[in-house]
Amino acid sequence: MFETSLTWNDVLFLLQGAGTTLSITFWAVLGGTALGMLFGLIRASAPWWLNLPVGFVLDILRSVPLLIQFVLANSFKSILKLNVSAFTVGCVVLALYTAAYCAEIVRGGILAVPPTTRRAARSLGMTYTQDLTNIVFPIALRVALPSWIGLTLGVMKDTALVLWIGIVELLRSSQIIVTRIQEPLFVLSIAGLIYFLMSFPIARLGARLEKRWREND
């Protein structure tokens, strides 16, 4: 017979960690997507003097391991005596990291819109902005969605790294329980299951949208 010393309180503790994971993911993806759209638009259409420096910064964000970014940002926070929580630092760093990847996805989506289609929109008297909001973004969204869903799921797993700056999210809370009850396989399985349950609906939603749009194309 299977026995465990995992208590209901531990499960609640895990779920609390999962809540933190979700909330960091939410803010990171929200901020990262908003910034990513802006940066992606710059990468796709801005003149070189804006495009080059933005591309350079995004390259740095994508090349330096996320863990190092977290630790550095948290240290700078302490050095500069900024009065912000580790949670905020985690969200901001992860949002910038997400933005760097999202920018490339958005850029790819925008460049996938045929110039002739945009020309047709402009020829009807639409302004640059009307063309962007009514033609370019909706078409780019369909191209970019699968990669964006992938990015979101990736970011959710990357949140595990914030434990290094002292935030108790899902992975950290399972580690704490493992240390106490010494049942790593069981506890980590539960943590893994919770990650899956959080990711699955997002993946499903993406698949459903994709299918609906494909029917029209």
């Binding site: 045929p114 002739t116 289609t117 929109a121 020829s123 009807l124 008297g125 033609i135 369909r142």
Partner: protein, 240 residues
């Protein structure tokens, strides 16, 4: 009235229009014929300001298209253009494709825009396809939708850039019929085309383009029926 005065246009070091002068009166149908790369399509892009020019002047109802301070978005409202590639907006239904510009550019209400769109789509024979997405239409139907989309802006001028060139031969007829209908309704049209017989049939005047210049211009009987210049004769021999 559309007036071109000694218009010059280059892409880099390649001069595509080498001083084109032309006047198109209200209600007139002008067909532009000529070999590929002779500058015909480029001229259309210049007329509604989609391409800048390097010299000369283009006036539409007296407004200098390429002058600083000309509101191109406003100007384009009265110049419809239909391209070789029909350029449907793939994420919108046929009805929404046609409604979009009247709503966003002219600021019409949803009901008004829908009324206009339904009327124009019915006019080009797509009244049954309102709720369909463009991908479900044939090339000829998509091209007619593009025509309705341009007409929905109630333009004073229509420019057609080889609108049948990308179509399967059996679909060309339906689009030409639509063009013919428009010409009979008195729409002012500039028609860049390879359909010489059609041009002869519907045009008030025909212009023959060769190497960035108008070599011959006149009635269809003159230019197509009794061409004077050796280049025109050569070209017509090769396409007829």
């Amino acid at each position: 009235m559309i007036e071109l005065k000694d218009v010059r246009k280059s892409f880099g070091s390649l001069e595509v229009l080498k001083g084109v002068s032309l006047t198109v009166q209200k209600g007139e149908v002008l067909s532009v014929i000529g070999g590929s790369g002779s500058g015909k399509s480029t001229m259309l892009m210049c007329i509604n300001g989609l391409e800048p020019i390097q010299g000369g002047q283009i006036l539409v109802d007296g407004t200098d298209v390429h002058a600083r301070g000309t509101d191109l978005n406003k100007l384009r409202q009265k110049i419809g253009i239909v391209f070789q590639q029909w350029n449907a907006f793939p994420h919108l239904t046929v009805l929404e494709n046609v409604m979009l510009a009247p709503r966003k550019v002219l600021g019409k209400s949803k009901r008004e825009a829908e009324e206009i769109a339904v009327r124009q789509l019915t006019h080009v024979g797509l009244g049954e396809k309102l709720k369909v997405y463009p991908s479900k239409l044939s090339g000829g139907q998509q091209q007619r939708m593009a025509i309705a989309r341009a007409l929905a802006m109630q333009p004073d001028y229509m420019l057609f850039d080889e609108v049948t060139s990308a179509l399967d031969p059996q679909l060309v007829g339906e689009v030409l019929d639509t063009l013919k209908m428009l010409s009979e309704e008195g729409m002012t049209m500039i028609l860049v085309t390879h359909e010489i017989r059609f041009a002869r049939d519907v045009s008030d005047r025909v212009a023959f383009f060769h190497k960035g210049l108008i070599h011959e211009i006149g009635t269809p009987e003159q230019v197509i029926g009794n061409p004077q210049k050796p280049e025109t004769i050569e070209f017509l021999k090769s396409v007829l």
